[in-house]
Subunit: 556 residues, 2 copies
Amino acid sequence: MSEASEQNPTPAPEDNSEQFSTMALEAEGESEGGKKMSKKEAAKLDRLRKKQELKAAATANSGAAAPASEDPLAANYGDVPLNELQSKAVTGRQWTEVGKLDSGFEAQTVLFRGRLQAKRGKGKLAFLVVRERGFTVQCVLNVKPDVVSPQMVKYATALSTESIIDIEGVVSVPKVPIESTTQKVEVHVTKIYSISNAEPVLPVNIDDAARSETEIVKAEQAGEPVIRVNQDTRLNNRVLDLRTPANQAIFRLQSEVGMFFEQYLRAKDFIALHTPKLMPGSSEGGSAVFKLDYMGTPACLAQSPQLHKQMAICADFGRVYEIGPVFRAERSFTHRHLCEFVGLDVEMEIKEHYSEVMDIVDELFVSMFDSINKNSQKQLEAINRQYPFKPLKYLPRTLRLTFEEGIKMLEEAGVNVDPLGDLNTENERKLGELVKEKYDTEFYILHRYPLAVRPFYTMPCYDNPTYSNSFDVFIRGEEIISGAQRVHEPQLLEKRARELGIDVKTISTYIDAFRYGAPPHGGFGVGLERVVMLFCALNNIRKTSLFPRDPNRLAP
Amino acid sequence: MSEASEQNPTPAPEDNSEQFSTMALEAEGESEGGKKMSKKEAAKLDRLRKKQELKAAATANSGAAAPASEDPLAANYGDVPLNELQSKAVTGRQWTEVGKLDSGFEAQTVLFRGRLQAKRGKGKLAFLVVRERGFTVQCVLNVKPDVVSPQMVKYATALSTESIIDIEGVVSVPKVPIESTTQKVEVHVTKIYSISNAEPVLPVNIDDAARSETEIVKAEQAGEPVIRVNQDTRLNNRVLDLRTPANQAIFRLQSEVGMFFEQYLRAKDFIALHTPKLMPGSSEGGSAVFKLDYMGTPACLAQSPQLHKQMAICADFGRVYEIGPVFRAERSFTHRHLCEFVGLDVEMEIKEHYSEVMDIVDELFVSMFDSINKNSQKQLEAINRQYPFKPLKYLPRTLRLTFEEGIKMLEEAGVNVDPLGDLNTENERKLGELVKEKYDTEFYILHRYPLAVRPFYTMPCYDNPTYSNSFDVFIRGEEIISGAQRVHEPQLLEKRARELGIDVKTISTYIDAFRYGAPPHGGFGVGLERVVMLFCALNNIRKTSLFPRDPNRLAP
């Protein structure tokens, strides 16, 4: 709660239109403050909470589950017993998706299933908002002889929000367009059944979880009670949190990103691989690995498909990719690290130069961004409503700077930086700003990194072994992709591994793979969560991981 | 070696055509007998091996690496030093794929990179077979002033097979079509460079690894020395083994199967999920799990995405799929079990009946099989050459039998079977035979399994809780898919888990997911390796796993 809310204790405006506003129901739910609240506010929320619990208890005892038997219309509403939902019959009834309901259905009877997102009763009248996969429609129950009984209206308003309900009703097109739902039509309910009742008190209300920071601040300034759901509460109740429009959009977008990645690469003759995640040694050495016992043998989880994707190149697959989990047992408590994430990995033969790999990165991501901006407008809008962001600036052909050029830009800007060390997060951000200023892009490639800061399998530059044929790619000042030409010569590979203190015995099958003829090759790896996070300028990678795993979190 | 080979000690026929036969080189390599060989045969192979090693040693010392400096054509051949392959320059040279070389290139100079698959020198003439991604082309070096020197021919024939080489040459269309290569043209070499030399003695020769059982038996019967590469040798040297045409085809086919799966489901509004593989408890109870330490907390690897894909349904994603690794710490030493495999998982809301899930299975797989048969002919032919199989018999609409009907068929055939137990492998095979006989299909669905043999989350039948709303799908008498309607009601779910002895505390976040409104839903899981194995009637799942993991194998 901001301090401003104490100064403007304006009560929430009364809803006085026939159109139903979900805002009116917002103040319910558990208090989760990202900021501290005053005693007065705490007391207010406490009262709200008690009121909500009493209401819920009343609902639970009101016999909402069983429609009054004396009602001649009793068959038109009620809770469907489990037995009826155990694949009892195939009726052939036609179902309509909420997202497809439009004026084309005017005066027609439709049947759909969704969640009761919000409800409001007004005597003989009830308004419900029903949601299916992020789409919402307003449903009206109006007492009418032989169609809707007062008991039916009572049943509907007593249902707990987030319950799964079946609605049968007639579509009408209201004169004043409905603003609060995604669908602009209204459904006049003739039948309503609950398929699965939600518990009356939810640990997180979807409206609270869906509220943008702007709305929260505005409400606080207006002195209205408002709940800010913090991240741990969201993640502890991820199944509820994921129902918000922004989260629905984030994971639908992520699915589209993955599919674009695959389709682009397949059009370029890449094939999908599935490499093992159970490994005898540590896959790359260095960073911490999860260790386990494999039938009595020490094993670990792959930190990347690096070794096996290169072995697939030695096995003549030419161009390969993999989408799969990678595991890092690092105690990194940052906004951008996870202990398990989805790796998008690519490996390919190169004829002459690692720029062939950068060409793939360049075209793949530029065309992906174009495709998202063109085809995923609905998702971007939904994300933007809760987490406003500016569209990513990128060039039709991606800017490529050498590491030395990057260092020079930083030095000219007065930054003290080791010319042969790795860039720290702060300097990466700073360089991102300088690049944006100079080249008007937030997506660029930095290549020819110092060899010392890259893994042992990185190919040194032909002209100067201090540098390497490697690159990182940045979005909005953060590293998102790492790639390089690899050492394909077994003697040099073994030497490099030794120099970096790796026990070559543990990777002997990998090194041996290069002894029987190995083409020059290179590749790159991307974290799927980072692509979506940075494209949408989200501030935490946990927002783009379905069920995130970090050093403190292994559930749900 | 079969006994027949002793009776027909016919020597290998001499190659006496200009066309190069790879068969002539076949007898080289390490002896790996699936059967025992006679002393005489062993001695013969030993002599062969020694001859090969001497030859290899001679090659290594012959200065093949450095063309004679006195040759004015020295620049046209030789080993490319590593320095030249470290992304020195982008020349803009045009590369042609071996698989694209055809008569359209007649009289043109082409440049390509591939492996030296086989070679034969004949004085001033040398024939090479060059392979790229399974495609092969014959290359000819013929001494000619100002173009090909005798040293160049010598250099070419001294190269070790499986080396990566660059060839520049002129395409010609021979009068007699070339039978032994996939490409029907010939390339008259003008330049030849080795990019990466294979070690002269390979642990497995590709020709040996590529030979079909029919060819082996034929050679044995003709008394020719022939090598049968056993499975462990193949898997120990997987990078070489994967280069055979059959293996190239198997994994390209597998990639196509995965893509078809995704594209079909996306067209039906499914989205791709990525659920965590690191779990706090055992994901399904029962079968053995891999345990590990997660930052001081006991954890395990997911045995399937079951719990999280269902939670995604509770989180409003409606229809989801996942392609990802699943882990089973079972000591199963069978032809069809792995400790890590690729799961194709699907979960979806159902409106009325689990037949909605079976409908997806049915249409998905029938259209997948149609697509493979139509679009993957080249892969099927390559697999067929080494592992002959009959095309899968399946119906346009998949046969669905109830478990009770299956039991009845088995009983009528005189099989003694527990009507409420699970089918063992033998009875599954037997039923497969009976179904094929009666319905002329090797692909069918068996549903309404006894509840007792299914996991706790399986929905019991509405009319008889002894049975469940579940199904298995069979190909060629082996189970390939398991699916069911799930229990979406938290009380029943908890009760069923307890009944099966599962500690519900370990799955509390899963059970809680159903407390806030859960739609009826169902889904299924398939092993990608099994799809390819059974479609192609391969006899071991290790043939369709890129780098298999079984109780005895954690490498390479």
